[in-house]
């Protein structure tokens, strides 16, 4: 016999869903609008992890405002942020370090969120924009813009175009992503190599000064940031975070096989393509600010995954971890051989390459079927 639950009574004092015990480890927030009940579940651990990461990010940020050629105390640095204190430190903090910090936080978060989305949609921890050649595509186009080759477009739109081109080529050659994530990665590595060579070719064919101007684009540095590109990135990141929150339920389901996800009523292709577009756009906008520091897209999500539970896909935690890694790497790069500055891309590569090896050598059960 099929039993049907009674339709809930309209009386707002007696809502049927009021006070339902949430699943273990979650908080249930509920509210009522008119005659309908609404509820969302918040996972406690995810909440704590994000708060912890936020605190760590604030700490690293403060450190990065304090340290440098001119060392400030935290009090002086904070005074500088809000525009009082002595004019020299205010100038250093506001004009130099704060903008650099904003660039570091935004690029780190964007690369990492982008990486986490792509890893999930391709069901492979190696599938990040940096590995599958999207960063290289964006870089090649941005460098073409810097050396003034056939276009007057600024680097950010060119980086977007380059990322889109690299993705489209990879997609066409790999015949879709998803069930064959491995094929997507291998194809992406090939496409990335071609774009990398293209960048080198462009650099070799222009005058030395132009090549110097384009150089930061090829290693990844927060020194060559461009104000307009940074505004673009922050806008993109804000949109990306909202979309990521919306997608987080679908992303949880995408960890299952396609058949299971479809059986649960998800339009798998649509979810994948939305996530892919957000991921590629974020990577491209971040490249337009800092160049290819794509390894952050690999390290950030991995840190978030280690901290979080298996229940969800830790998109926000990934963004926060990425921002921490970026700011910390930039700080190390600035201090390591001061007054010479080591580009942040080189620092993340030195840390990231062993990390990549560790991922490859470690048994990787999480995304494998």
């Amino acid at each position: 016999m099929k039993t049907r639950t009674l339709t809930p009574p309209a009386c707002p004092m007696n809502r049927p869903d009021a006070g339902v015990t949430p699943p273990p480890g979650s908080w249930r927030l509920s509210w009522a609008l008119g005659e309908r009940d609404y509820s969302i579940l918040i996972e406690r651990r995810a909440c704590f992890v994000c708060l912890g990461l936020l605190a760590a990010l604030l700490a690293v940020s403060l450190l990065s405002l304090c340290l440098g050629t001119l060392t400030l105390s935290p009090r002086e640095a904070l005074a500088g942020v809000f525009g009082y204190g002595d004019p020299v430190s205010a100038f250093v903090v506001q004009e130099l370090r704060l903008v650099r910090l904003a660039a570091g936080v935004a690029t780190g978060a964007a690369f990492s969120l982008s990486g986490c989305l792509m890893q999930t949609l391709a069901r492979n921890r190696l599938a990040t924009p940096g590995i599958v050649g999207i960063d290289n595509g964006a870089t090649a186009f941005a460098v073409a813009s810097v050396v003034g080759l056939g276009t007057s477009l600024a680097p950010p739109p060119m980086a977007l175009a380059g990322a889109a081109t690299a993705t489209a080529i990879t997609f066409a050659l790999a015949n879709d992503v998803g069930t064959r994530g491995y094929r997507f990665i291998v194809t992406g590595i090939g496409v990335g190599a071609v774009f990398g060579a293209l960048t080198q070719l462009l650099m070799a064919r222009v005058a030395i000064d132009t090549a110097n101007a384009a150089y930061p684009w090829t290693v990844g540095s927060l020194n060559a940031r461009d104000g307009a590109a940074l505004v673009w990135l922050w806008c993109g990141l804000a949109i990306g975070l909202v979309v990521a929150c919306y997608l987080s339920r679908a992303m949880r389901i995408l960890r299952f096989s396609d058949a299971v996800a479809q059986g649960l009523g998800y339009r798998v292709r649509a979810c994948r393509y939305t996530a892919l577009v957000v991921s590629v756009a974020l990577a491209a906008l971040a490249v337009a600010v800092a160049g290819p520091v794509g390894l952050v897209g690999l390290i950030g999500p991995e840190i978030a995954r280690q901290l979080s539970s298996h229940r969800g896909v830790s998109l926000i935690a990934s963004a926060l971890s990425g921002a921490i890694v970026m700011v910390a790497a930039d700080l190390v790069g600035r201090l390591l051989l001061a007054p010479i500055e080591v580009p942040v891309g080189i620092v993340t590569a030195i840390v990231g390459a062993p990390f990549l090896l560790w991922i490859l050598l470690r048994p990787a059960p999480r995304f494998q079927s």
């Binding site: 249930r28 096989s257 009523g265 998800y266 999480r366």
Partner: protein, 293 residues
């Protein structure tokens, strides 16, 4: 079972009506002239060929046939995992290609053959995913959700294992957990692709008995089964496929003949009746080539 048949009879909107439709009860799920092929150009291979099928309401249907006969593809098409070249699958008389994904998931649940879960996921967490089609961004957990998850745990006899990670369970328990997830979807229809493959005899029985319980509770089920004898024993309705077509369909004791077994699998056998249940048993199996000489 009868109460369910009464519910689904409102689907008599079905205007495509081949001669074999019984006039009183429309089938909950039917395939009409369904054709499907893989590959492109010269590599194109027809997997399902103008196939007609109706699942009897409230019963267990078993789809059997040799490897590569298209039985898994048929099941996947019934669950809209493939887009047919021609023909249609009708759910309560409506073409499933036109149904919204969510609505479809509220009416039909699928247990695919390849199921892997994220590492560390527990039984209760898996079953909660079954509530997805009934939830939305701002309706994530209701009293119904909680009750249905509890009921699904009870139906699959998994209450004691609710907080155990799936990786740490036996094959039979894991399969029961997946079926419990499908139960939590609260669909009148459930499709299972080889639910007992890679399970030993005892675990197979666990799963088949759960399937019988669900049919007794009024669900319509269809499963792809490798083993003909199990199919005969646990299904009410047997569909035998060969080369993308249905060669026989009906009650197992009616359709299973030595000729059918020879056609399907290329083996000769002696058919007997199970003295306890009356279902067909295959004995003295030998290769058809040798016996023909």
């Amino acid at each position: 079972m009868n109460s369910f048949a009464a519910i689904s009879s409102d689907a008599s909107l079905s205007n495509a009506s081949p001669s074999n439709v019984s006039p009183d009860v429309a089938p909950p799920l039917a395939a009409r002239q369904l054709s499907l092929s893989y590959g492109r150009g010269s590599a194109r291979r027809t997997v399902i060929d103008a196939l007609d099928l109706e699942l009897p309401a409230g019963q267990v249907t078993a789809i059997v046939g040799p490897n590569g006969c298209g039985k898994s593809t048929l099941l996947a098409s019934l669950a809209r995992l493939h887009v047919p070249d021609q023909g249609a699958v009708l759910l309560d008389g409506h073409d499933i290609q036109r149904l919204p994904a969510r609505e479809m998931a509220q009416r039909l649940a699928l247990l695919p053959q390849e199921t892997h879960a994220p590492e560390g996921l527990t039984v209760a967490e898996l079953i909660r995913f079954g509530r997805q089609p009934h939830q939305s961004l701002f309706k994530q957990w209701s009293r119904d959700d909680r009750r249905v998850v509890d009921e699904a745990l009870a139906a699959a006899d998994l209450h004691a294992l609710a907080d155990r990670p799936l990786d740490a369970m036996s094959g039979g328990q894991r399969q029961r957990a997946w079926i419990a997830m499908a139960i939590a979807q609260q669909t009148p229809l459930l499709l299972l692709d080889e639910p007992t493959s890679a399970l030993d005899l005892g675990h197979q029985l666990e799963v088949f008995e759960l399937i019988r319980d669900l049919a007794a509770a009024g669900k319509t089920l269809a499963m792809v089964v490798h083993d003909l004898v199990s199919a005969c024993r646990f299904a009410d309705y047997l569909v035998a496929m060969l080369d993308g077509r249905i060669v026989a369909a009906g009650r197992p004791s009616d359709v299973v003949t030595t000729a059918l077994v020879r056609d399907l699998y290329g083996v000769e056998c002696t058919l007997m009746q199970d003295p306890a249940t009356g279902s067909p048993l295959l004995t003295n199996i030998r290769s058809a080539r040798h016996s023909r000489g």
